[in-house]
Amino acid sequence: MTAQNTVARLNTPDEVALSKPRSLTRIALTRFLNHRMAVLGMVMLLFVFGFVTIGSLFFTEAQANWVDTARRLSPPSSEHLLGTDSIGRDVLIRSIYGGQISLLIGGFAVIVSISLGTLVGLVSGYYGGWIDSLLMRITEAMLSIPTLLLLLVLANFLGNRVGEITIFGRVLSGSVVVIIFIIGATSWMYIARIIRGNVLSLKRSEYVLAAEALGAPTRRIILLHILPNTLAPLVVAATLGVAQAILQEAYISFLGVGVKTPTATWGNILEGARSYIDDAPWLWLVPGTLILITVMGINFVGDGLRDALDPRSLK
């Protein structure tokens, strides 16, 4: 079915007229947009982004942290659209502002993990020798330690060390920064291995040898010749990494050692819900569903990117 479609499409006059050589980016983009799951994933992510950004235009953060014990655990009503939590804070508004923090943590944790992983992978792969064996032993050791347990230890001990910080006029609990760094610091290993593997195979490629023969400095070879060619797997790993980071933040906040209140995240809204599963289902259903939509959206987009960027399936 798909084969026939392609043939039919290529024969239309428009296609023939436009038959300039297509760039790899263009091919990847076309394939990504033809990937039904990926587009669905994009829609889900757009919904979540819209929810946390447009939502924050209607409510202020002060409202998100507003405690009103007289209205504790009130069910959804016209006043509190998605009900209130155990100390009377509005779940909808907390989910909006909590979502911003959860997404922020997901994004920045991945930036930290990509930077670390890329650095370790490039150095390890390009220099080889004892540096490589040392770094790979560390990577191996880190991979053998269960990440969640390590995160819990680090979050528990470091979470209170940083005071409140102010970003863009918003006062956030310092634990947000701590969580970003520890999630990043415990998730770089796969990236490092991907990059190292790519560097090892590219190092002997002719164009790198040519660059070396021309006397290009090592830094230039690594940054300009090798790194851009390892981008595709990096993009996929980074995308899926955001979902992992959001989940991990939710788990550690849920277990009570993550981001400290009053700063809301999807994870810590869920923290107090255990006692009210029956009486206040909105308390866990709302943040839980938002996490589900986000993670599912990211996973779909990640799969789409993997298929779109894989040169082996080039049609």
Partner: protein, 338 residues
Amino acid sequence: MFKYILRRLLQAIPLLFFISLVLFLLMQATGDPISAMGERNPMSEQAKAELSRALGLDQPAIVQYVYWLIGNDWVIVNERGEYGKRKGVLRGDFGISFMTRRPALTTVVERLPNTLLLMGTAQVVIVVVSLVVGIVGAVRQYSALDNLLTGLAFVMYSVPVFLMAYLLMYVFAYAFRQWGLPYLPTGGMFDPRVGQTFEQVARHMVLPVLTISLISIAGYSRFIRSAMLEVIHSDYIRTARSKGIHERRVLFVHGFRNAALPFVTLIGLDLPFLLAGAVVTESIFSWPGMGRLYIDHLQRSDFPVLMCILMMISLAVVIFQILTDIVYSLLDPRIRFD
């Protein structure tokens, strides 16, 4: 083969030392167990210093690591000229728990059977159901059933553990109770009024096992399905069919045995991490296992117990990596080590 196993075991030793060193230094750098003690009646500075000395926490981190590893019964630890009492991890002494004042190893090992019971049962359910779902999906590709299972798997794969757990609790514990149906318990291992009977434990296990299984099955069944599809479309399956072999025999003897190979690797490598995943599930369901122990002792910076749990899981990870390689080589005749 024997040489290969021996080499892998020898390689594992430095790795484990490395893991323990990394973990130990992280623990040292991040917490102060003394400050977490005596919450209700704060200790004087002098008492703190004495306690810190008695526990050996006043030593430099690397010295503490050595004591932790090989014990301190060969050095004089106080001005009275007494030798230390600790034997070190290499002689099976993980130290004394700061919280319970009992050996850390005993504290952990007591909880281990509960975790193994929960996770072992879950693992059996996961393997059996994923195999069935995956094979059905592959054999009846693009049928209504396959599409339904695929759709479900896509959603389940992304469900966070707590959402799954709460949904199951909401339906099978609270809603069922309201509708007057037989409902399931949501926490603990048995009803203390009835006692730890087989029936009680089994009932309490249903929801946590379902929670863990449903999420894992989503990923594994997709894996089996694609492995099986790849095999079904290979030449030797076509040959087997054209020889007139019964379809069931083609699928299970010729097909499944080859499709299952990568699955063995996947399960083997994931198995020890299931122990770590127990932290969340056990906390939600108040299951008295190792994961819950970890959370309880985490809040008090109880290093000996935390290190003991972390090292046991890391050891399991390393051992399972080796076991998986060996089992794989036994199952796949194409792999030879010599």
